[in-house]
């Protein structure tokens, strides 16, 4: 953690209201968008973000300053987002859930990406967005942390509390799922 962040945390611990505001302002965009990416709902994302910051500021004394603050905040936000999905589905959900990772991965007979798939990547944001929304929640979380937040693999592992190897496997599978969905949509879709 950088010196500025350490100082921000120290001021928050001293109940400095300006520091509270600084922390919320620095992370509100990323937290809202992570929650939105996982829950798929702007209302749920707003609720998750509010609860995330309340928890962060109330439990800052338990935070280990040697770890990245961003990762700690995202961990709280992603767990709260999973709680929302859990309530919705009325079934346990976790980032360690591997039940849907048993599907086929790389098919050696697969001819690989053709020119059509490249074209389909030019789809509008809405169409691409709809395709991402079909991925299971832990794949959505991982692609968001990797490509939107540009987190390195080890930080993703720490944030989602999963082994580093699982991060690699899941990112690979997320790419494969997207690729298969693009192929399945056909050229006219």
């Amino acid at each position: 953690m950088g010196g500025d962040e350490r100082d921000l945390v120290r001021r928050c611990l001293a109940m400095d209201e300006r520091a509270y505001r600084e922390l919320v302002r620095a992370y509100q965009g990323p937290v809202v968008n992570l929650a939105w990416r996982i829950t798929g709902s702007a209302d749920d994302a707003a609720e998750v973000a509010q609860e995330t910051f309340i928890r962060v500021l109330r439990s800052l004394s338990t935070y280990d300053p040697d770890r990245p603050l961003r990762s700690w905040i995202f961990k709280i936000a992603s767990n709260l987002s999973l709680d929302v999905i859990r309530r919705r589905k009325r079934r346990p959900v976790s980032f360690e859930d591997l039940s849907s990772e048993d599907g086929p991965t790389f098919d050696p007979a697969d001819p690989g990406p053709g020119p059509d798939e490249g074209m389909r990547l030019e789809w509008s944001d809405e169409r691409f967005e709809a395709l991402i929304a079909e991925l299971p929640e832990y794949y959505r979380a991982i692609v968001h942390l990797r490509y939107r937040e540009e987190m390195p693999y080890d930080m993703i592992a720490e944030t989602l509390d999963i082994p580093l190897g699982t991060v690699k496997v899941r990112l690979h599978r997320a790419h494969e799922m997207i690729r298969r969905k693009l192929i399945a949509r056909g050229t006219t879709s």
Partner: protein, 212 residues
């Protein structure tokens, strides 16, 4: 240079390779395969394009009022707690000052208002009040000795009801807890006796306070 990496193995590592997350030695082997294999090169480009698309997808704006709602929830109770702490500290200091002032100036005030001599009637009144206050813990001590076997009996019957009330009662019934209670009580009484305004003995701390 030819590598013996298969396309299958290369494909499994392609995303991590595109993300720059592979060990340098593994990345070198991948590069050798990619130099020779057009299919894996096309696949790599495709993964890169997906990553680029994911990175630039638009997000949603921050909901209005989020910062204020968080601050109300977090800073509100803390501010109130801080105010309460300060107010009670001030009240304590004020009452302490008033007590000391009262003790110091009471004889003069009593003479001024024509009240009975503090060294006689008032002091005796305070004394008897204190005597009766001391009598309460004394009675309590006797009562504790009396009720202790009964509490023990209640504990035994509560044992059947579960471990939580049992644990609480167990801590109450331990000789250490009882000893601590008795010690605290006697410390309070001793402190009072030491500091109370003495009417019978010259040179006590109370007397010194009266002489201020």
């Amino acid at each position: 240079m030819k590598s013996n990496l298969t396309c299958d193995a290369c494909e499994r590592e392609l995303v991590a390779y595109a993300d720059g997350a592979l060990h340098a030695a593994v990345a070198r082997v991948m590069e050798q395969h990619l130099d020779d294999c057009a299919r894996c090169r096309a696949s790599l480009e495709f993964h890169r394009a997906i990553a680029g698309r994911l990175a630039t997808l638009p997000g949603i704006p921050v909901p209005p009022g989020l910062e204020e709602r968080v601050l109300r929830a977090v800073a509100g109770p803390r501010r109130a707690a801080l105010r309460w702490k300060r107010a009670s500290a001030a009240a304590l200091a004020a009452s302490f000052a008033a007590t000391i002032g009262g003790i110091a100036f009471w004889p003069r005030l009593a003479a001024l208002w024509g009240l009975p001599d503090p060294a006689s009637a008032l002091a005796r009144g305070i004394d008897s009040g204190v005597e009766s206050m001391i009598a309460i813990p004394k009675r309590l001590a006797v009562d504790v000795a009396f009720y202790e076997p009964i509490v023990r009996q209640v504990c035994r019957s509560l044992d059947a009801l579960g471990s939580v009330p049992h644990a609480v009662l167990l801590s109450l019934r331990s000789p250490e807890a009882q000893a601590a209670g008795v010690m605290l009580l006697s410390l309070g009484v001793a402190l009072y006796l030491l500091l109370r305004p003495s009417t019978r003995k010259e040179g006590g701390i109370g007397h010194a306070c009266l002489a201020l």
